[in-house]
């Protein structure tokens, strides 16, 4: 009810987020951001980055010349993102305090060439995941691309156990040092398919714990 002790830990999280994520992914966060941007970013393309956090993916896409809008519900994360520099010539990123279920309040249908979501979907409950993916699809132009990066749990129970055991020390260490952690998705492909996306491709990033998924909104139909 009122354990405000816990609050101190919560509050410092945004400031330590970058450090925590890098530790959890053994220093490969930047590579992940670049891999996502490489899928979608090019000059003249409009990209929506869902749950942009401290801006890693959005800035990587902007460096490649894309016009990016980064949205996140956490104003403190956005403040950190805003303060990060972009090279001269890169289009400025628009940062908005907005949740994944509030896309329709700010953008008309078919606004974007691509939607990116890195380590975001797993943070949402199942209903919100479905809702956010459906709206994201409607804001994509026909043929537009969705890129999702998230941690994935192996489906088989034995491998799942090994996955947890292997992950636990790093998770504990990261949480102790930075009070950040991630969650994992079970079936990102299924989620995306249920939201109406097609041409779904999954590949692994970083020793098989992160899945990089691309999917398309088909040419026809709403």
């Amino acid at each position: 009810m009122s354990s405000f002790v816990f609050m101190k830990v919560l509050e410092s999280a945004p400031r330590r987020y970058d450090r925590g994520m890098n530790l959890l992914f053994l220093g490969r966060m930047e590579q992940l951001h670049e891999a996502i941007a490489a899928e979608v970013a090019a000059p003249g393309r409009r990209i929506l980055d869902l749950g942009c956090g401290t801006g890693g993916v959005a800035l990587a896409s902007a460096r490649r010349g894309a016009t990016v809008t980064g949205i996140d519900t956490n104003p403190q994360m956005l403040e950190i993102a805003r303060a990060k520099p972009l090279p001269p010539g890169a289009p400025p990123v628009e940062w908005l305090e907005l949740g994944a279920t509030e896309i329709e309040d700010a953008f008309p249908p078919e606004s974007f060439h691509a939607v990116t979501a890195s380590l975001v979907l797993s943070e949402l409950g199942p209903l919100e995941q479905a809702y956010a993916l459906r709206t994201a699809r409607s804001r994509l132009r026909p043929g537009g691309v969705l890129v999702i990066a998230d941690e994935i749990v192996p489906a088989a129970s034995l491998r799942r156990l090994a996955w947890w055991a292997g992950r636990l020390p790093l998770v504990c260490l990261t949480y102790l040092l930075t009070q950040t952690t991630t969650r994992a998705l079970e079936d990102p492909g299924g989620l995306v398919r249920a939201a109406g996306f097609a041409e779904i491709h999954e590949r692994r990033f970083g020793r098989g714990t992160v899945v990089l998924l691309t999917a398309r909104r088909g040419e026809a139909g709403p």
Partner: protein
């Protein structure tokens, strides 16, 4: 309660300082229909369990927002229960198809984080403040969804204090018991477990009468360390091992237990600002009377009866400044930005900063307004008007 349910309830109670995440979404209680009330809550397992127990026999929709398993008050304070989570809950659950009204009952303690105005803008849903404590919900619903003064004031009855005590006591007792068993044998360990459990329990039972803030709090801790030593000594006597070494170990253990409790006993209660969060950084609630429009939202959401509506002047007054918990709820809800926090050195945290950064912790929310010298602002005084 079935055995697994009892076990998980116990586990969540002693581990309550950590989040326990239930699946967020729509939870029907009874057989709710299109005109049943919709109550917003969090995704903390303990809260959901208590709500379902308290509301048994009624027909209501519980809308569990995704607060990452954190209780309403802490989530609202820490930015995990804001209008974003409320909007997400309304939209993703499809509640709009199940009811024909658009009224959401918000827990009063969500006021530190949720701005009803922004929920309305995005969804068209109107919000109404419910009571601070979920135990008061049945009476609130029967009364036609109106809160009373009693509903708004945060109470902390004995049973809840003991639940909260278990959060501190179980871990301190187990850790201390193991440590002191290694140092002095199993009897010493048993003595430590019993004395820690009883002493911490006694602290929480006596809490309303204790001084737990300011320098005099050390007297309180000292007295209970002596009590703990006495209990430990009695156990040693019963177990037939009252050696000087064992008695000394009991004293050390009691002092350590109180040291652990002193980390943030005040913040574990709904009566005081947290020692950790306000550490060397005590802010005062401050009213600019010329901005006050007598809207009364602040009085409605304050859990400590700090604020009062003054009929003759048609202004709010800060009636009990010393009772302020620095929760920020009144600031977040004031429609005319008439309330704000002020530090003793004169710096001011404007309402916009409170709305976007939430809790006041270790000074990081400190923002100084350019060109605004509170010393010369008329009415910015700590004394009630």
């Amino acid at each position: 309660m079935s055995l697994p349910a009892t076990v998980s309830a116990l586990r969540d109670t002693v581990l309550r300082m950590f989040p326990h995440r239930a699946v967020p979404g729509l939870i029907p209680v009874g057989t709710p229909g299109p005109d049943s009330p919709v109550l917003l809550t969090c995704s903390f397992t303990l809260t959901l369990r208590r709500l379902q127990r308290v509301l048994a026999g009624r027909n209501v929709w519980l809308l569990a927002a995704d607060t990452h398993g954190i209780n309403v008050w802490c989530a609202a304070g820490g930015g995990y229960l804001t209008h974003h989570e409320v909007i997400a809950a309304i939209r993703s659950t499809g509640i709009e198809e199940l009811v024909d009204h658009r009224e959401l009952i918000l827990p009063q303690l969500a006021a530190t984080g949720v701005e009803p105005r922004r929920v309305r803008q995005a969804t068209g849903w109107e919000s109404r403040w419910g009571p601070a404590r979920l135990e008061d919900l049945p009476a609130y619903l029967d009364r036609g969804r109106r809160t009373t003064r009693r509903d708004r004031r945060m109470r902390f009855p004995l049973w809840e204090r003991l639940e909260m005590a278990s959060m501190w006591a179980v871990w301190t007792a187990l850790g201390g018991g193991a440590l002191f068993a290694l140092l002095g044998g199993w009897r010493t360990g048993v003595g430590v477990v019993i004395s820690v459990l009883l002493t911490v329990g006694a602290v929480f039972a006596a809490l309303p009468r204790l001084v737990v803030t300011g320098h005099r709090r050390w007297l309180t801790y000292g007295a209970f360390a002596i009590l703990g030593t006495g209990i430990g000594a009695a156990v040693m006597l019963l177990l037939g091992a009252p050696t000087p070494r064992n008695l000394a170990l009991q004293a050390v253990a009691s002092v350590l237990a109180m040291a652990v409790l002193s980390i943030d006993l005040a913040g574990t209660t709904p009566w005081y600002p947290s020692t950790i969060n306000t550490f060397r950084n005590f802010a005062h609630i401050d009213l600019e009377p010329e901005r006050c429009t007598f809207a009364g939202d602040c009085v409605q959401v304050c859990p400590a009866e700090v604020l009062r509506l003054d009929g003759p002047t048609r202004k709010v007054v800060i009636a009990r400044p010393d009772a302020c918990l620095q929760c920020g709820a009144c600031i977040v809800q004031c429609p005319s930005d008439a309330l704000r926090f002020r530090y003793p050195d004169g710096r001011i945290i404007p309402p916009a900063a409170i709305r976007s950064t939430r809790m006041n912790m270790l000074g990081r929310r400190t923002v100084t307004v350019e060109g605004h010298d509170p010393a010369v602002t008329p009415g910015s005084s700590d004394t009630p008007a």
